[in-house]
Amino acid sequence: MEIQPILAALRKHKIPAALIVLEIALACAVLCNAVFMIGQRISEIHLPNAIDEQGVADIRVMGTDPKLATDDVPRNLAALRQIPGVTAAAVINTMPLTNNGWNSNVATQPQDVMEKDSPNVATYFFTSGGEQALGLRLLRGRFFTSEEFADSKLASNYIPTAHVMLITQSLADRLWPGQDALGKQVWVGKEIHFTVVGIIADVLRPNQNGEGLAAFHWAMFLPLSPGPGGFLNDYVVRTSPQDRARVIDAAKQKLAALSPNAVVRGISFTDVRDKFFATDRSMIWMLVLVCVVMLAVTAFGIVGLTSFWVGQRRRQIGIRRALGATRAHILQYFQTENFLLSTAGVATGMLLAFGINLYLMQHYQLDRMPWYYLPVSAIALWILGQLAVLGPALRAANVPPVVATRSV
């Protein structure tokens, strides 16, 4: 196919050509960024969380006397463990993805705790058996011993008096990149530190801290024995997925009977997760809708402009046909023309897409768009252009050669 005559023809129709290029550029820029945002949210929704998500339920008791918690908690746990189907139960300060977070800045050296870039970490405290109740997966080291649970009370600074902690793999990598975190010290305040006794698979924190997806897995776990305070309200109950609904009902009834003045609520962890990501899910659907409609609108534009163009050049096509051009030649001509325009559009669009991405990175804490979005969206827009031009091009190819001899 000769490109020279196409370029010459385009030069004579600057405005329609420029419009198609602009249209594709704008579509490419918006599309790249929208698809990128969709991808980011999907990966967020599917972030791994190394607890037994299918089997865990959270029963919360509110409104009991904080002074009596020392006696209430063991009594309630004993009652929960008696429910058929319950394999483990413990009390925890808060659950992942509940938006109720206990966060601390930590460091590997005491003087670094107050530094600006010290990682902000979610803190979980649970009572004996919490690792089974949650289904934590130990990667290295060990879980807590019964003495470590018994010796740990909540101090007035809201930090347990324990000396040991479990941390997630992601936090270990953040604090000691390339080193073994086992046995090292984590400082939570200038005077408070804990020894890492175990490294566990990544567990999500109660809420995202605005520090990007990497920080979503920064969590530490401390042992705690039931004591006065009244903040240990979340009973984690583990069961098999098929027993879960029945166990939640039974647990709610039992705990309500034990604390008649309290409010008892129960929720399965899968519901907690669905609730947490509900807004992201609705945002994804909205972005998908926008992309689809925008592609459709762009395609309409291309169809409209090309058909107008074909109509305008009926005589020219007729002459070419009369001079011996085959239908395939005419079809090819319009498709090459569209390919050239699309390429110009995609090239402009990529620059625009990167510009928008840079702006979003600065203002909305978005990550850098990976390079492969550009070829993918370029190919998508090429295909779209070729499909849009197909109808008008076929009509052009069907122009009979006699048109050339008429009315000249």
């Binding site: 704008l26 409104g63 006397d65 409010v263 309409f300 534009g301 107008f308 109509g311 979003l360 804490q365």
Partner: protein, 442 residues
């Protein structure tokens, strides 16, 4: 002449129904998407207390030590006041009205036998709260400054809560058990019932709340809440080492919101000076370490901007919708161009019969406007569907998404302006068609 142009435009549109439908659809989708997001942004940035907001201000002090490092994404501790500072500003009484407040979630233990205990959100405040914000009362009234001093156990309920607890009986004078901690129920005497009142956004809440869906169902004296050590909601930010006092009254923990009413510009200036003087005095006493000029006074709208309540998602969607409108407009330009230039022979005939360039331009301009009106009406429908779908979403602001009359008119106007603008280039191209050249081929 105008009627004739409309008639011509109408005929022309009818002649190419598919192209016309495409254009109306494109503009409708563009307008619909952008109006949906503009409406959401509009309702989220509205003045929560029209008529009163211009006189409401937030004092902002800076008691943080020089060494304090603000964590990157954490709320600023200065956005709230410490107990000693809030009490000092209250006692100074330099504004027309002033109130300190904090949110709380408490368990209510109803006396009705068939009702289980439940939690409610409310606010601990000082007495000026009601008069300053103009909270509408149905029965009774708020408490007095005297009740603040005596730490009275009184409560004001919102209408919905009063109805839930007492049915149709008059709740004023009854007692409510709040913040039951298992052993000692706290009894509060009901002294007033407000109409359900929830300004949007909940401007007086701190950044831990959900400003587009939270509502306060009870109000009780801040002093009583301190006595009873009631739980509180919201940001609790501390710095430095404590010295054994209760966190609620610590000079190193900020947790209280503070609002003042200032009626004249002179008063505003004087109050700002007072804050600077107060900070200087505290600095001289060794409590504050930073420059006294760090003390600020925010107007209500300035405060809302400072708190940056509109979520990033909403802003992103807004820009996406605007980009989408741009794509749609570009399409209309393309389609109109195709349509107008296809009628080159018609234009030539009219030009040859004496039509001026201006006449052609006006005629095609009217045709574009007609498409704009149709697209605007379609866009209005699409925006309603869009808003409906947003109302189904789980976000905090979702229930606010609906249009007021000004937005309705705005939609149609935007559509017409967009399509006339989009029609300008094609109409200009069309009126430049030379008369003679086209006539020859007819």
């Amino acid at each position: 002449m105008f009627g004739y142009y409309i008639d011509l435009a109408w005929r022309s549109l009818k002649r190419t129904p598919v192209l016309t439908a495409l254009m109306v659809l494109a503009i409708g989708l563009g307008i619909g998407a952008s109006m949906t997001m503009i409406t959401v942004l509009h309702v989220m940035t509205e003045d929560p207390l029209p008529g009163r907001s211009a006189h409401l201000y937030v004092p902002h002090l800076d008691p943080l030590p020089v060494t304090y490092q603000q964590p990157e994404n954490a709320p600023e501790p200065n956005d709230s006041l410490t107990w000693p500072d809030a009490m000092a500003l209250l006692r100074a009484h330099r504004a027309t009205r002033q109130a300190a407040m904090a949110g709380g979630t408490l368990l209510v233990t109803p006396q009705r036998a068939n009702l289980q205990p439940f939690d409610i959100n409310g606010r601990y405040a000082t007495s000026d709260f009601f008069a300053m914000f103009g909270v509408p009362f149905m029965a009774g009234s708020g408490w007095t400054a005297g009740d603040d001093v005596t730490h009275a156990h009184v409560v004001v309920l919102a209408e919905s809560l009063a109805r839930k607890l007492f049915g149709d009986a008059n709740p004023v004078g009854q007692t409510v058990e709040l913040g039951n901690n298992g052993s000692a129920p706290n009894e509060f005497r009901v002294i007033g019932v407000t109409r359900d009142w929830a300004p949007r956004p909940m401007f007086y809440e701190d950044s831990a709340g959900k400003p587009y869906s939270d509502a306060d169902e009870f109000f009780l004296p801040l002093t009583a809440s301190i006595d009873l050590k009631l739980d509180f909601n919201g940001n609790f930010m501390g710095w430095g080492r404590g010295s054994g006092e209760s966190w609620r009254t610590s000079p190193r923990i900020s947790w209280l919101q503070f609002w003042v009413q200032l009626d004249t510009p002179e008063q505003v200036k004087a109050y700002h000076q007072f804050l600077v003087d107060y900070s200087a005095e505290q600095k001289a006493l060794g409590r504050f370490q930073r420059p006294a000029t760090n003390a600020k006074l925010y107007s209500m709208m300035g405060w809302l901007a400072h708190e940056n309540l509109v979520p990033d998602d909403v802003r992103l969607q807004f820009w996406l919708a605007i980009g989408f409108l741009g794509v749609a407009m570009l399409n209309i330009v393309a389609l109109l161009l195709a349509k107008f230039l296809r009628r080159s022979s018609e234009i030539s005939v009219r030009r040859a019969m004496g039509a001026r360039k201006r006449d052609i331009f006006v005629q095609f301009g009217i045709e574009s406007a007609l498409i704009g009106v149709a697209g605007g009406l379609l866009g209005l429908g699409i925006a309603q569907i869009g808003l409906w779908s947003i109302r189904q979403r789980p976000d905090d602001y979702a229930h606010l998404a609906s249009m007021d009359p000004s937005m309705l008119i705005g939609t149609v106007l935007l559509a017409i302006v967009a399509s006339v603008l989009a029609g300008l280039l094609p109409a200009w191209r069309a009126c430049r068609v030379p008369p003679a050249l086209q006539l020859k081929t007819l």
